[in-house]
Structure formats: C-alpha cells, structure tokens
C-alpha cells in the first residue's frame, strides 16, 4: 500500500492507542490512569478519521468526522465523571494510589 499522510497517521494512532492502553493498566495513580484514557481515546479517534482522508484530491468522508466529534464530547463527560469519582475515592481512602500498589 502506498504511503500517504493518512497512512502515517494510522501508525501514529496505533502507537497512541497502545501507549494509552499501557498507561491505563500500568500506572498506579488514578489521575494518570484517566490521562492515559484520554490519550488512548485520541489514538482511537485517529484510527477512525485517518482512513477517511485517503481520497486523492477529494474532500474526506464526513461520517467518521461526526462520529469522532460525538466521541470527543462523550470522552469529556466520562473524564469529568471519572475525576469526580477519583476525588471521592481519594477522600474516602486518603490516597490516590490503590492499596496494593503502595503496600508491596
């Protein structure tokens, strides 16, 4: 497959998704987990939009753009709810790091 700019962004999207996935599972702090969730969602959105721009000298397919717009809004609402929950967890347990990580 010939290399276009959109193909390069597919690689970038895969890399960002994997980085975000590893960050969610391997980092201990709750805020960093939510940061990784946002990075992973940005990577997945790249994977949705980049294939839509493979038309040479034609406007891209707008349906994935609309889906990603919806996804960005849903991601911010999930982030806000997750941050509120994290704050309650931190208050209840007096720490942001889960027990099994701090007490090894």
């Amino acid at each position: 497959m010939e290399l276009q700019a959109a193909t390069w962004y597919i690689f970038t999207g895969i890399a960002l998704s994997v980085i975000g996935l590893l960050g969610i599972t391997l980092s201990g702090h709750l805020l960093r987990k939510i940061l990784s969730l946002n990075i992973m969602s940005s990577g997945v959105f790249l994977l949705l939009v980049a294939p839509a721009d493979r038309l040479f000298e034609r406007a891209p397919d707008p349906v994935p753009h609309a889906m990603v717009l919806t996804g960005i809004v849903v991601a911010v609402s999930a982030t806000a709810l997750a941050l509120a929950l994290a704050r309650r967890i931190a208050t209840a347990s007096h720490q942001h790091v889960p027990e099994e990580d701090a007490g090894e």
């Binding site: 497959m1 290399l3 193909t7 390069w8 962004y9 980085i19 599972t25 707008p62 990603v68 931190a90």
Partner: protein, 319 residues
C-alpha cells in the same frame, strides 16, 4: 503517490513523544500541562487530515476543557503524592509482560486490518453528497450530525446530561484542604472583562457559521463554557450546583428541544427525526442554538463538580 510530508512525520513523532512524557513524568502538574500540549498538537493533526470541525472540537473540548478539569482535580486533591514511583518488583512483571503482549497484539491486528483497506475508498462520501441538498446544511459534518445521524447526537446530549447528573449525585464535593477564598487578583478580573464578551462573539459566530463552514453547536457550546468557567473561577458567578430549577432548565433545554422537534415532525406525517426539507435549515439552527446553551451549561456544571460542602451552608431542597 506522494511521500509523507516532513511536517506530518515530525507531528506524529512529537505526538508520540509527548504522550510518553505524559505517562513517564513524575510530576502530575507537568503531566497535565503536557496533556494540554498534546491536545493542541492533536488539533493540528486533525487539520492535516482535513477534519477541521474535529480540530475545533479537540482544541476547545479535548485540550481546553479536559485540561481545565484535570487542573481543577489536581488542585483539589488533598493527598499531593504526585511524585510517587513504585519500585518495580518481580510480581509487577506478571502485569507488565501480558500488557505489553496485549499492546503488541492490538498493534498487529489493527494495523493489518486498517492498512489492508483499499487506498481510495470513498466510504460514505458519495451518499452524503447525494443527500446534502435536502439536509438543511451545506457543511457535510453538520448535515451528518444534525440530520443524517441526528439520533446519535440526540443520545450524545443524553449522555452529557447523565454525566452531569452522575457528578452532582455524588453528593457535596469534599472541600479542598487549602483555603481558596482569596479574592481574585486584578489580572484575572481584567482578563475576564476583556475576554468574556469576545468569547460570546466567537461562540455566536461558530454557531451561525456551522451550517455552511466548519463550526457548529458543540464547538460553540464548548467555547461558551470557557467563558462560564472563567466567570466561576474569578468569583463573578457562583458555581452551578444544579439545585435550582433555572440551572436545571438550562441543562435540559437542548435535549428537550431536540426531542420535541424529532417527535414534532411525526405530527406532519414524517418519521421520527425526519425533517421536512424546506424546514430543515430552520429546525437545525433552532436545535443548534439551544444545544449551544445547554452544552455550555453542562460543561460548566461538570467543571464545578457538584456543590462544595460548606460547613455553614444550609442546603435547601436537598433530596
């Protein structure tokens, strides 16, 4: 077949590098600032992919609002264990290794299926072009969002309302450990005085231009939410707690209007959400205007994160 422009290569590598730094840096404040930088670089990437509506939304919502949410959460966290870095033990490899393998498998499977797609598929572009004359909007993304796939947008607004209901139903937010009742400084007040009216103009422009050029209700609502957050942070406006009916009315106004229109067209013999073609542009503008206000109210309420527990506050009408 043109080679990949050097700008895109540098942008992609920088995106990956900033993402890795966000996860590896020990200081959480630095991580959040780098995340905001990441969001702005993503906005550049969307523009390079000719997704200008997505770029506007990423800059306003993904970088700006999400960054503000994170900074707010960091400022309110009592336990500032921002520099914790657990020493890797033998047991931690039990978690690290399968996750690395899972990530590798994901990369291979997704890469193989996406790179195997035909290089010049039009997708749904032609279907959209065929129907856009009757859709009421000439911006294809707005036509898709508010006409062809209006059901998705309706449910997306419902998700926003669910999120703000969830945040506010967690009860009063724990009060921050450090006193934050210092009066706002003159720089912040001066900034608010200058920027908030400009934000109003920009939001109105984005809303109006959304039917013909990149823009729309979501981007305008996010920009308007920035004005609301500025007013709340500078103390000029009270943080919305969604306990009073005017605040609740603002939050549900967009969804109610959308639902009313989508049901109302059935009276004229159309299907659910099937706008009559000569009314379509007016209905879309009406829905978008109310959506802008509602999305702004919801995002500011999400930022405020529920009522702060004041020791002397009397909560009237609290369920």
């Amino acid at each position: 077949m043109p080679p990949v422009p050097i700008f895109d290569v540098v942008l992609g590598v920088t995106l990956i590098g900033v993402a890795v730094r966000v996860l590896m840096t020990a200081d959480l404040f630095q991580a959040i600032v780098l995340f905001i930088v990441f969001g702005l670089l993503m906005s550049l990437a969307w523009t390079r992919l000719h997704a200008v509506d997505v770029a506007l939304a990423e800059a306003a919502i993904g970088a700006g609002l999400t960054g503000a949410l994170f900074l707010n959460a960091l400022a309110q966290s009592e336990h500032r264990d921002t520099r914790v870095a657990a020493r890797p033990t033998a047991a931690s490899f039990l978690v690290h290794l399968p996750m690395l393998l899972l990530g590798l498998a994901f990369a291979i499977i997704v890469g193989h299926s996406l790179l195997g797609l035909p290089g010049d598929a039009a997708g749904l572009r032609d279907v959209v072009d065929a129907g856009i004359g009757r859709s009421g909007a000439s911006n294809p993304v707005t036509a898709v969002l508010l006409n062809f796939r209006a059901y998705d947008t309706l449910l997306e607004i419902a998700v926003l309302i669910l999120a703000v209901a969830g945040v506010c139903s967690l009860g009063p937010a724990p009060a921050p450990s450090r006193g934050t009742d210092s009066p706002p400084g003159p720089v912040l007040l001066g900034l608010v005085r200058v920027v908030v009216p400009l934000i109003g103009v920009v939001a109105g422009y984005l809303l109006w231009i959304g039917t013909t050029a990149p823009g729309g209700a979501l981007q305008a609502g996010a920009v308007l939410a920035a004005a609301g957050i500025l007013l709340v942070v500078s103390g000029i406006a009270r943080a919305p707690t969604l306990r009073t009916w005017p605040e609740r009315a603002l939050v549900v106004a967009g969804f109610t209007a959308f639902l009313a229109v989508s049901l109302g067209v059935m009276v004229g013999g159309h299907h659910f959400l099937e706008y009559p073609p000569d009314w379509a542009s007016h209905l879309i503008l009406l829905i978008e205007a109310l959506l802008t206000v509602s999305v702004a109210a919801i995002l500011v309420a999400l930022f405020a994160g529920g009522a702060t527990a004041h020791p002397s506050a009397s909560s009237s009408g609290r369920e």
